[in-house]
């Protein structure tokens, strides 16, 4: 080993009793330097998940396939819902929702489950919830294969300006998920029932988001309703996930009104309108990410003590 290499590295660290303050640029540099820890932790999550299982990665794909079967049965047959190409509608939203919900589920436990690391080694703690988002991202890609397979099988493709919404929706989703992930991870260190509450919160949230039912119906139903002078539909869209999912729907399902005479399936708004909505969600999420990150960073100094 080369002793000389050491002299060139002068990383000076000063630690005091002050709670650490987040200096975004400096911290980003630190995170960038630790990117391989992130990659390795994501790899670990994935490997551990699929080791000793016969089906391996097929488990991830099974989830959307199962949802597809059950919801197609319930909605298309029992409820006689008339959404053409329902599987594509369902999957394009469900994938995004799964990324969000799986990330948060993993992130809540990320610091607590890695207590042996946190109490024994120093590394930027943000990496733990971020690795959860990364691991859920790998699941997302696998599940996207199911959707692509389905779209290819049914020749249901719409190429156009609608596809431009996909990267925007993806960005909004990842930023918002990361912000929430950092926040629940920090909260769960202190209050361990966060993980149980999260389950309930996600269940409620799921039904407040147009994953299974068409967002166009909601728009129609809320058209003239107001709550305290605010249009109900604006309130509905205050849920960032509603905007994100609407973006995914518009990008992939694309057709607002498949049956000319019937209610719209998607939001009857223009692509630019949705792009602005997604941009707003992204900006809001960046602010949220900064706040969550700052909280996480301040609390992370004491994680080793709390575990």
């Amino acid at each position: 080993m080369k002793g000389l290499e050491l002299a060139s590295v002068t990383e000076i660290a000063v630690r005091t009793s002050e709670p650490p303050r987040l200096h975004v640029r400096q911290r980003l540099r630190e995170l960038w330097a630790s990117r391989q820890i992130l990659a390795n932790l994501v790899r670990k999550e994935i490997k551990v998940k699929y080791k000793s299982s016969v089906l391996g990665a097929a488990w991830s794909m099974l989830n959307p396939v199962l949802y597809l079967a059950v919801f197609s049965l319930v909605f298309s047959i029992f409820l006689q819902a008339k959404t053409p190409h329902f599987p594509v509608y369902l999957l394009s939203g469900l994938l995004a929702w799964n990324l969000f919900a799986t990330s948060l589920g993993l992130a809540t436990r990320s610091v607590v489950d890695n207590a042996n690391l946190v109490t024994k080694v120093y590394f930027p703690r943000e990496i733990l919830p971020l690795a959860s988002v990364g691991a859920a991202g790998v699941d997302f890609l696998l599940q996207a294969l199911v959707l692509l397979g389905f779209m290819a099988g049914t020749r249901f493709f719409h190429f156009g300006a609608n596809l431009l919404l996909l990267p925007l929706a993806m960005l909004a989703l990842v930023v918002f998920t990361s912000a929430m992930g950092l926040w629940v991870a920090a909260l769960n260190v202190r209050y361990r029932d966060t993980q149980h509450l999260l389950g309930l919160a996600l269940l409620t949230w799921f039904w407040l988001t147009p994953v299974i039912y068409p967002s166009g119906f909601v728009f129609q139903r809320f058209a003239d309703n107001h709550l305290l002078g605010i249009p109900m539909f604006d309130l509905y869209l205050a849920n960032p996930m509603a905007g994100v999912i609407a973006g995914f729907h518009r990008a992939l399902y694309a057709v607002v009104r498949p049956d000319a005479g019937a209610d719209p399936v998607l939001l009857p708004v223009s692509v630019p309108w949705l792009a602005v909505l997604l941009a707003a969600v992204t900006v809001g999420s960046i602010v949220l990410l900064f706040l969550a990150w700052r909280t996480f960073f301040r609390l992370s100094g004491d994680f080793a003590e709390e575990l």
């Binding site: 050491l6 000063v14 024994k120």
Partner: protein, 394 residues
């Protein structure tokens, strides 16, 4: 000291821990109760120490004296309540071997994961991979899942990764006390190589012996305050005095535990368990050993050290012509020291059972037991010599 300042500067560090009697650990409880009863205690108070670049500092102290807390604060794992710590250079803290090892992953996967957490880049790990595997002596197992490793293999792998990281500052907590004697030798060589390369090292240990061998300076902590600091020999003496005063047993308890020391005691000639002896008395060291598997030809030994950690005497069953061709079940072993030659002070007894060639340690309790010699006026001097005295009238 270099112009850039010391590698580690610890200035007036204090660390307060809160012990919550009933801490709300759920949001539900938090909403119900606002004020929470807690006592606080100071794990560290007013600790200042500087470690110059390339120096090796030993941290000694009884259990609970704050050694590990200090190490964790230097490493950035814990936040000090008072004071400040400045470090210069990349730090690797070895507070546990194989931190973050995952049982489901293979040795190879764990090497990459663990080494990246300790700060190595992928390219650096690629370059060192073969060395790490060779050091751990796990060539044949590197692609098996770690859950199939023996505890010895696990620890060897953890250490191998740890010593191949490339830090300017290395913080080590007791981890040197692992594996068999040959492996310990290798680890010590590695630490000495680090020293030659000019790295700064802080070692927490219970073993004064180690401080003598590797440290340039040492400090003793007691109740979170610095009790003694300076030259190792001096500091170790202070440490022994402190331990003698507190009447504490200390030292390592380690080994593969294929045979375990389940009980041990010191007896006087009358068969009573004792701690105080007079010069010339008889002392029996009795151990009860329990084998978990059949072991061939183990050797049981004891050693006695004085308060300055000088090795005074020791022997083993082999040299006393007691053999265990097949050791199984429970055995009682006694060493009877016919005439104690010591006159004063506290003496520490190390007990061990190991293979005949000493490469495999089944169980060692280093300086776990002690006895005190009380001299009377009738025994001045350095050693006790049995003297018969006769007089006859001519």
């Amino acid at each position: 000291m270099s112009s850039g300042g010391a590698a580690i500067e610890v200035e007036g560090i204090g660390k307060r821990f809160r012990r919550y009697r009933e801490r709300p650990t759920s949001l539900k409880e938090r909403l119900i109760r606002f004020r929470v009863a807690s006592d606080e205690f100071w794990a560290l108070q007013g600790v200042s120490v500087e470690v110059a670049e390339g120096q090796t500092l030993g941290l000694l102290g009884p259990n609970g004296s704050g050694k590990t807390t200090l190490l964790k604060i230097i490493a950035g794992i814990l936040r000090p309540t008072q004071g400040r710590v400045t470090t210069r250079g990349r730090i690797a803290a070895l507070l546990a071997l194989g931190a973050g090892f995952h049982a489901e992953l293979t040795g190879r996967e764990n090497i990459y994961l663990n080494a990246s957490i300790l700060g190595l880049s992928r390219q650096e790990i690629d370059r060192r991979f073969d060395d790490i595997v060779a050091f751990a002596e796990l060539e044949d197992f590197v692609d098996s899942q770690v859950k199939f490793y023996s505890s010895g293999m696990y620890v060897r792998l953890g250490f191998a990764v740890a010593v191949h990281v490339d830090p300017a500052i290395l913080l080590v907590d007791e981890v040197l006390a692992v594996g068999d004697i040959a492996f310990q030798r290798k680890c010590l060589d590695r630490v000495q190589a680090f020293q030659r390369e000019g790295r700064t090292i802080v070692v927490v240990t219970h073993a004064p012996d180690l401080v003598h061998r590797v440290c340039d300076r040492a400090i003793v902590l007691e109740h979170g305050r610095i009790k003694a600091a300076g030259e190792p020999t001096e500091v170790v003496r202070e440490f022994r005095l402190l331990m003698a005063k507190k009447d504490l047993a200390y030292g390592w308890d380690q080994g593969t535990k294929e045979i375990e020391i389940v009980a041990a005691d010191l007896f006087g000639a009358d068969g009573s368990s004792r701690e105080w002896f007079a010069p010339g008395e008889e002392l029996t060291i009795q151990m009860e050993l329990k084998a978990h598997t059949v072991v061939e030809n183990p050797v049981v030994s004891f050693a006695i050290h004085d308060q300055q950690n000088r090795f005074v005497y020791g022997t083993n069953t082999d040299w006393r012509s007691v053999f265990f061709p097949r050791f199984e079940g429970k055995q009682r072993v006694q060493f009877t020291l016919r005439t104690l030659p010591f006159v004063e002070g506290r003496y520490y007894v190390t007990l061990g059972i190991h293979s005949r060639d000493s490469t495999r340690v089944y169980h060692v309790q280093e300086q776990h037991y002690s006895f005190v010699m009380v001299r009377g006026e009738e025994n001045p001097g350095l050693v006790f010599i049995p003297v018969d005295c006769r007089a006859e009238r001519l």
